[in-house]
Amino acid sequence: MAATFTHEVITVGGCKVTLKRGGNGPTLLYLHGAGGAGMVDPFLQDLASEYSVLIPEHPGFGGSDEPGWLDNMHDMAYFYLDFLEAINVRGAHVVGASLGGWLAMEIAIRDASRMCALTLMGPSGIHVQGLKKGDLFMWSPEDRIRNLFHDQAIAERLLAMKPTPEMQDALLKNAYTTARLGWEPRLYDPHLHKWLHRIKLPTQIIWGEQDRILPAGYAPELAKMIPGSRFHVIPQCGHLPQSEKPQEFLHLFREFAAGLPR
């Protein structure tokens, strides 16, 4: 049975962010990607059977405020340190997708004391010379959806759905904030790699083999930068393994979580 998620608004330092909570168990903090977290994805519904799942919408996304101070990913990381303190999160398994994976790393290099582990799905944040990335800003909205998935049937289903005006507004807001955080350099921080060695948490990196936004060649390169991390590449899968291959993703996640120190 699907877990019930409550919706609340948390104010931290004058900035209002939405927070969905559901399930019971150890804390799992989900950091969403560029597309936002307007809805609770099925894999998070699933994980709510074992975890207390927290899904905030980042400042500048969805129903959250757009603070004037938000200029870059560093601002976002420091905000999250305040946020984790404000809601007194402890021992969280932080799960970050794409832009959210980048954010998870930016937070963790600064202060990982409220985290117990990291799971990163196709995270942006670093640059590897010679690996060609896609440019989601150059793509039309339709191409953007097609390029998210390996299985084009999923893209077709999404394209057939007509978003409401409210959803369109949220998507536009998310695109504007994504550009602010990641236009230049394109979705990475040239200084992040220098400090990834500070991440001492158990870390699992999961990548879709056919990721057209960030190629799977990033997985081993990132794994080299985070001591004690492991990576898995899921075949027949695009940029969102948690959505395109939820069973494989959940299996990897649970296997990794089972090995974490209690």
Binding site: F137, M138, L172, T178
Partner: protein, 388 residues
């Protein structure tokens, strides 16, 4: 009335057949389609055309800035303006404009414009723009900071020109410990500033502000759209407590003058359509990267996307005022009508467009100068009195 000759300097030799399957001539069209030998000839032809404009009696010649595109091969209007500075003696030289947010140090604009102003003894008109959306792809500048950087760079340049240096400038995007531009501009306190725009309330409020009173130029737009924005400028000025003069209002429009209305259209049609349908073709997501406009403006443009992208023939454009084409008499009457209806004090005539070749461009310029300009000036003087 200022009658200015505007040039976009398109790469007119573009192989339209070989490039027809590329989505746009902007940003991503491989530069292997650019032939430097042809480019050499084009640059010199275009500079000759602008120099000839002075001889024909235009009040000024205008250049602009676009990057990584066959639409215009002037990534630096400073270079073309500099080339013109020593080959003209009377005409104003208008840089319309320098794309301020794309510069990592806007003082370079203050320096370069001041140099041209000194060399020409005060013939420079400075124009400031943000660059179009596509330029945020080609420069990789963050479009969400475009407005902030434009305003900050503008303030820095105007202060550098008009306040004694050295002084410190500490902004959000630009930090200069010693602002102390040598040379100071020839025109004091600084060259006139013109603001070209496709039309926005924010830009008009900025340009019309009593501390600035910058000339606002509506670029390539239907007559009705131009008229609406110029009225918005006058209303905004009134709101600020003053009356805008025609000098503060301008329009950039492609014009072609022929012997008969039919022959004019027959000569210009395919070259105009190459300009409109090919050189100016920019995919929506490249034209409007996130943050380049406010979200409300973006939604407004998205709602009008179909009409923005509709194919309109040169003949239809001629009806809308997106093009003014016909005999000298036809063109003159139309322009005089537009001047009176919109209260224009500046016409920027685009007399070369798209693939229009040298011989037709030259004849167009001569017919315009002889058959349109004198009566247009006279009519504008009678209509505006001393205010223009």
């Amino acid at each position: 009335m200022n009658i200015m000759l505007f040039h976009l300097m398109p790469y007119a030799d573009l192989d339209l057949e070989a490039t027809k399957d590329y989505p746009t001539p902007w940003v991503t069209l491989p530069n292997s389609f650019y032939d430097p030998k042809k480019g050499h000839l084009l640059y010199n032809r275009y500079l000759d055309e602008l120099e000839y404009g002075e001889e024909l009696g235009f009040d000024g010649v205008c250049v602009n800035e676009h990057h990584q595109t066959a639409y215009g091969i002037m990534p630096s209007p400073i270079v073309t303006a500099s080339a013109l500075a020593r080959r003209t003696t009377k005409a104003k030289i208008a840089i319309l404009g320098s794309a301020l947010p794309l510069r990592s140090n806007p003082l370079t604009v203050a320096e370069e414009h001041a140099m041209i102003d000194n060399i020409t003894g005060g013939r420079l008109i400075s124009g400031f723009v943000r660059g179009i959306g596509a330029e945020y792809f080609s420069s990789n500048n963050n479009p969400t900071f475009s407005h902030e950087r434009f305003h900050e760079a503008h303030d820095l340049i105007i202060r550098a020109w008009s306040e004694p240096g050295p002084f410190e400038f500490a902004g959000k995007h630009y930090h200069i410990n010693y602002v102390n531009v040598w040379p100071r501009p020839y025109q004091q306190p600084h060259p006139p500033v013109w603001i070209p725009s496709q039309g926005s309330r924010e830009t008009i409020e900025f340009a019309a502000h009593p501390s600035r009173k910058y000339t606002y130029l509506q670029t390539y737009s239907p007559f009705k759209v131009m008229q609406r924005y110029l009225q918005m400028y006058r209303d905004t000025a009134k709101g600020f407590g003053y009356t805008a003069t025609p000098k503060q209002l301008g329009w950039l429009v492609p014009i072609y003058v022929g012997d008969t209305d039919e022959s004019a259209m027959a000569e210009a049609e395919k070259h105009y359509e190459a300009f409109r349908e090919r050189f100016l073709h920019i995919p929506f997501d490249m034209l409007l990267p996130p943050g380049y406009t406010s979200r409300d403006s973006y939604k407004g443009l998205l709602a009008r996307r179909d009409s923005m992208e509709a194919k309109i023939s040169a003949r239809e454009c001629n009806e809308l005022g997106l093009f003014v084409c016909g005999t000298a008499k036809t063109v003159k009457e139309k322009l005089i009508g537009y001047v009176k209806e919109a209260g224009l004090g500046n016409i920027l005539a685009l007399l070369q467009f798209g693939t229009l070749p040298a011989d037709l461009t030259k004849r167009n310029m001569e017919r315009f100068a002889e058959g349109v300009m004198p009566d247009l000036r006279k009519a504008a003087r009678e209509f505006h009195g001393d205010t223009a």
